[in-house]
Symmetry: C2
Subunit: 414 residues, 2 copies
């Protein structure tokens, strides 16, 4: 008998009716002959409310106590989900991360999963026909301290359980009905993809497609877990996230993405001496500013350099503080911060074996009259930093240039 893991996020658990709807999904899978594990997030808003409670008490809550606090959100959801399944007349039993033996390291707030120790008990309950409800996002360290897995942690829990128990599929129920070739709110012709490869999804996630968090996709890739992202509200097939298979490589570009709310920090006349870049970015890291791409240009006979990098717009104040520090030490240095920047990208594992993708993208942006401030590329991604005001126009232009709204000729379900 096959096993299915189903994960329901907070927006799919916003009220009693949504719990019943999720319960019906789980029951249907069981009646269809599967064993079922359900992973739930905290109810919509509840994590925010808990965080707010903590900050009413102190502006610097301890990470251990914050995890102790936040883990209650998922614990509420598991109990309610089990009750909803009972209400429909089926067996279900709920488990916290600790109760299922989901062991992590001790990095409170972003712990990593090490093991799942209560496998025998779960396997035995599954065989008896119980639907197993597991709290996402949380685990325990070796001293029984509660830990949480950080953003997207419930997805990570779901994929880890799917890997540990050899599930046929890990279904991620969410408020969108799959992964699209681009954000359909911006690009009306965007097409729902039948499948996307792990590596592509990893890039799309980091480029602003917020459907799933990177760590869960990495885990899926490492353990070859088939992940199926689909809507909580319809029965339509969603998008599979799967391993690369060679017969599908007719697709060059899988999707396009737009990341907004970026800022560009430009440092001029930085003394060109060994270690200077390291020193700058150590300070950036200390303030937990996340840096996207970095460009350095040496000039003026090699004595100074220009360094520029992209950050999230809400880190601008931190960046300015760093610049003020640096200005005290390097009198010549000039800094400029440009906000309202965006990044448009195309992603596809097919790029590895095809040339001409970059030039086609630049040409499309040029035709659309979008100025490219900066370019960065990896094996499967090409990104251009542009003005945010041009962002949506740029995304539509790139999407059209690669015919992403049309199903590829050889495309078929993975």
């Amino acid at each position: 008998m096959g096993l299915i893991v189903q994960k329901f996020g907070g927006t799919s658990l916003a009220d009693a009716e949504k719990f019943h709807r999720a319960a019906r999904r789980a029951i249907r899978a069981k009646l269809d002959g599967s064993q079922v594990i359900v992973v739930v997030s905290a109810m919509d808003q509840s994590t925010d409310e808990l965080v707010d409670l903590a900050y009413q008490i102190t502006d610097r809550p301890s990470r251990r106590e914050m995890d102790q606090l936040l883990a209650t959100g998922e614990q509420v959801s598991i109990a309610l989900m089990a009750m909803a399944i009972h209400h429909a007349g089926h067996d279900a039993i709920s488990f916290t991360g600790g109760q299922i033996g989901l062991r992590t390291d001790r990095t409170f707030g972003r712990a990593r999963i090490r093991d799942i120790t209560e496998r025998n008990r779960i396997v035995s309950l599954l065989k008896q026909g119980s639907i197993i409800i597991v709290a996402g996002f949380q685990g325990v360290d070796e001293a029984s301290n509660i830990t949480t897995l950080g953003r997207g942690g419930s997805d990570t829990t779901a994929v880890a359980l799917a890997a540990a128990f050899g599930a046929e599929v890990c279904e991620i129920y969410t408020d969108v009905d799959g992964i699209y070739s681009a954000d359909p709110r911006i690009v009306p012709e965007a097409r729902k993809l039948d499948y996307v490869f792990y590596d592509e999804m990893l890039e799309l996630a980091s480029l602003g497609a917020q459907v799933m968090h990177s760590r869960s996709i990495e885990l899926g890739k490492n353990y070859n877990v088939r992940i199926h992202v689909r809507s909580s509200y319809t029965d339509a097939k969603g998008t599979d996230i799967v391993n690369v298979s060679s017969d599908l490589e007719q697709v060059i570009v899988r999707g396009a993405a737009l990341k907004k709310n970026l800022a560009r920090v430009e440092l001029g006349r930085v003394p060109n001496r060994p270690g200077i870049a390291g020193e700058i970015f150590r300070r950036v890291a200390e303030r937990e500013v996340i840096v996207d791409d970095i460009i350095q240009v040496i000039h003026e006979g090699g004595t100074t350099a220009d360094i520029s990098f992209t950050i999230e717009a809400n880190d601008i104040e931190a960046a300015r503080a760093i610049a003020a520090e640096l200005a005290g030490e390097f009198a010549e240095m000039k800094m400029q911060v440009r906000d309202r920047m965006a990044k448009v990208s195309v992603v596809g594992v097919g790029m590895r074996t095809h040339t001409g993708v970059a030039s086609r993208m630049f040409e499309a942006l040029h035709q659309a009259n979008v100025n490219i401030e900066n370019i960065s590329t990896s094996e499967i991604v090409i990104s251009c930093v542009i003005n945010q005001d041009d962002g949506e126009k740029a995304l539509r232009a790139v999407h059209a240039a690669f015919d992403l709204g049309q199903p590829p000729l050889q495309d078929s379900a993975a």
Copy 2:
């Protein structure tokens, strides 16, 4: 170095400022040289909100899942309390019932404590100067299922920890400043008692004094834990709950209590055959109707009997349903239910060795023009069932008749 257990109830934890206030209590005890364990309830209202969530899902939530759900309330409180103590610059670490190894049986919803397994870890942390924060009301069974201890469970947790770790005192912080000779909202002359004996407190609790729940007092009695009930809002000394000590027995009546919202069920012409009373009260128990005192009178040449008993008013519908069943079987039986009844009682271990208490009470009620419907007595209690409309007048009359507003001559701190 002595150990103090401090327990804060939900009304003492209603908002951030109240957490800080409770934190200051704990810190002061530590600075005064004690080791400190703090036991907390769920924040005011939060348990009701969780129960409401469950009943939005189903009208018959499973007891296991209900405990899984409700335990989150105290878990939120422990994290916030630890944060409040950290905020003031002191060490604190929070524990759920499971984390401290508070083992119970598997009676979900009203589990009984069996053991506390993580004693060494707690003792070691106390020695290091940490304030230990423990979630009241909850434990785990041997399979790590979360259990709850039922009403007043946080008091029970506090007294159990005080017993397990040999605390000098278990302080119960609440929204009243101690135990009174009668409810001061009804009897303005009521006096705050310096001490009350466990047995007296047990009776007062069952007679409607809601300050502490019976099980925690029983536990305190069994392990001889000094319990001190006091206000969260003032520094005034509260009331000690202690063992009987012979030099204090000058007090005959410790306090008086009024229990309202009772109903009296009167069954007439019950066939007088063996086992009939057992049959009636088995049905009453099956519907979980709690019965107070029972009176049976045989008459009409011994062929029939009148049976009457007192119940809580909110069990009236269940009582009517039982009567309807019985009426089907015993055509002659007549039933009458009288609501709006109350019970006025006096309590004191001194009664054991004194006579004349009952007559003094009856005389006081007579003088106040209160009709006595029914009388029941135990070794240390005398109770009269009366009309609820006479209740407050009756309580004042009894309180005055025994001079309970005056400190007894030989009274001194235990």
